[in-house]
């Protein structure tokens, strides 16, 4: 049993292995020109060099920092609002247009506006990513609250809990599984937007800048190294939320 449990830690590596196998096969069978899609080996070599002696390490940390900031801002704003909106379906319906509208608008289309409001620095990148992530989190939290089990809310109400307390003590917890879905969606989206912003809004560092530069220089191993770093970062951040969820949400499905 314990040995089995140990083995389960290895499960994520199955996915990585499959990904690498498909990738290697694609390169090996020349389905894609190796100039355009380098082999995993040369990508990882580029990544290793970039991480140890190149700029990739710095870029990576910069992107981590921006993503964390924007996710944190998004979560702090979106979770309370999501609970509030979700608790009253009427209110939610009335702002739904705005939420769905902006969720369906590419962040890059928002760049000009954010640029004007926040300049070219980090603030634009963080705020535009936070904006995108907040919408997704808000949407998920509100949904979670709307689909919360009614009996528990009634139970709290009959105990004399105020609306606010019900929001906080019951709805928040009821919607936690969904909130975590939102957070995981949100952190991935924040990362995506940060990377895209680093690509298109003047940046001197970050994985997006790294991807952009490598792309401009046709340096495909470097480009895929940066992309891989971004993807791995995304997985890592998701894993973080998964772990937190595991610890806190023990009752899901019960």
């Amino acid at each position: 049993m314990i040995a089995l449990k140990r083995l389960q830690i290895l499960l994520p590596f199955v996915g990585i292995a499959v990904l690498l196998a498909v990738w290697s096969l694609t390169v090996w069978a020349r389905i894609v020109d190796p100039v355009l899609l380098p082999s995993p080996v040369s990508t990882f070599r580029a990544m290793w060099i970039g991480m140890t002696s190149g700029k990739l390490g710095v870029d990576f940390l910069k992107t981590v920092e921006r993503t964390i900031y924007s996710t944190a801002i998004a979560a702090i704003i979106a979770i309370p609002f999501g609970i509030l909106l979700g608790s009253s379906e009427k209110v939610y319906r009335s702002v739904e247009f705005v939420i769905d509208f902006f969720r369906s608008t590419p962040a890059s289309a928002m760049f000009p506006l954010f640029l004007v409001l926040f300049g070219v620095g980090d603030r634009t990148k963080i705020s535009v990513a936070a904006f995108g992530a907040a919408l997704v989190i808000l949407f998920n939290v509100a949904y979670g609250v709307m689909n919360a089990r009614k009996t528990r809310i009634l139970a709290a109400r009959v105990m004399g809990a105020s609306r606010l307390r019900i929001l906080w003590d019951v709805m928040l917890l009821e919607s936690l599984p969904q909130t975590f879905v939102g957070l995981r969606n949100g952190v991935s989206l924040a990362l995506v937007i940060v990377v895209v912003a680093e690509m298109f809004i003047g940046s001197t560092d970050g994985l997006g800048q790294s991807v952009f530069e490598a792309q401009q220089l046709f340096n495909m191993p470097d480009m895929y190294a940066a992309i891989f770093a971004a993807g791995a970062l995304g997985y890592g951040l998701n894993l973080l939320f998964l772990t937190i969820e595991r610890r806190f949400v023990h009752w899901s499905g019960k």
């Binding site: 020109d33 100039v35 640029l115 004007v116 070219v120 809004i201 003047g202 401009q216 220089l217 046709f218």
Partner: protein, 305 residues
């Protein structure tokens, strides 16, 4: 043969709809391709990377405009993938790249940009060119700040006053000048500061074909080049007439169509040794700033028609 008249030769062309693609639109609209019994299939591809990827995978045979340094780079990675048949020269007269400055910012020369917040056209080639030019004007890194910015944002950013000035391209430059938010400090800066001669041609972009196309359909390639030549001749002879094709086909606003500068279009076959030398010098510069990974003999990527 009888069916030759009916079935035209199809050529797939990647087109980045900017003013540099003008010869393509002129040839298309004035029927120069048709005269050559060629039917181009236009694929819009935004910028270098998709064009190069499409060339490498033979999804397009011609890129109507391909930035020289990007083409050179691609040729290093996969020799012969981009063979230039025509070049676009940019100089003080044939304005393309230039330094601009926000109205109200005190600067008469590039050297006055000390302490300024600058933007640059995107990509390492542009950024490093801008830095090199600034350096030639005695400005070290740290004397100014520079951020690369997507071309779509240049007019925005200047209008919003986010930057004091920067290294930008046409037609953005014309647009910001026209709307009164900025003025040009100096154009033709590559010629003057990089190539070291104000009169030198900076061949920053051109029209390229894949060697595959040239080898497998030599006759079609030749006829394509003939149409291209005719278009260039037409532009050089009737620049004002040619302009009107800009408005319709490229990202050039109507209000600057009449003022946006033309480029110096030339067929590779017409280039003098001196001009080839200028191209070589530009290529070497690309290598020196790390944008082209190897030193390359430019004649190897020129296809004369």
């Amino acid at each position: 043969t009888p069916d030759r008249a009916v079935a035209q030769d199809k050529v797939s062309v990647g087109v980045f709809p900017i003013s540099s693609s003008l010869p393509y639109f002129v040839a298309l609209e004035r029927g120069f391709f048709k005269e050559q019994n060629i039917e181009p299939e236009t694929t819009r591809l935004m910028g270098g990377p998709p064009n190069v990827a499409a060339m490498m995978t033979n999804q397009i045979e011609v890129a109507a405009v391909l930035v020289t340094l990007e083409g050179l780079n691609a040729d290093v990675k996969k020799p012969g993938v981009a063979m230039y048949i025509g070049m676009h020269s940019q100089t003080k007269v044939w304005k393309m790249e230039q330094f601009v400055v926000r109205n109200g910012f005190k600067a008469e020369t590039i050297a006055d940009l000390k302490g300024a917040k600058l933007m640059s056209a995107p990509g390492p080639a542009n950024l490093n060119t801008a830095k090199a030019i600034l350096a030639k004007n005695g400005l070290k890194e740290g004397d100014y700040t520079i951020d690369q910015l997507d071309m779509g944002q240049h007019v925005n950013a200047m209008t919003a006053g986010t930057f004091d000035g920067g290294y930008t391209l046409e037609p953005s430059a014309s647009m910001m000048i026209k709307s009164g938010v900025a003025r040009s400090l100096e154009a033709g800066v590559i010629s003057k500061y990089i190539l070291g001669d104000e009169a030198a041609n900076a061949y920053a972009a051109g029209c390229a074909m894949t060697s595959d196309f040239i080898q497998k359909r030599p006759d079609v390639a030749k006829r394509f080049a003939a149409a291209w030549r005719k278009a260039i001749d037409y532009i050089n002879a009737n620049p004002e007439e040619a302009r009107k094709y800009l408005a319709k086909n490229t990202f050039t606003p109507d209000n600057v169509v009449d003022t946006v500068p033309m480029l110096g279009y030339i067929m590779v076959g017409d280039m003098t040794p001196k001009q080839v030398g200028e191209l070589q010098k530009f290529a070497d510069f690309g290598n020196s700033i790390g944008v082209v990974p190897e030193k390359l003999d430019v004649t190897k990527i020129l296809q004369k028609y």
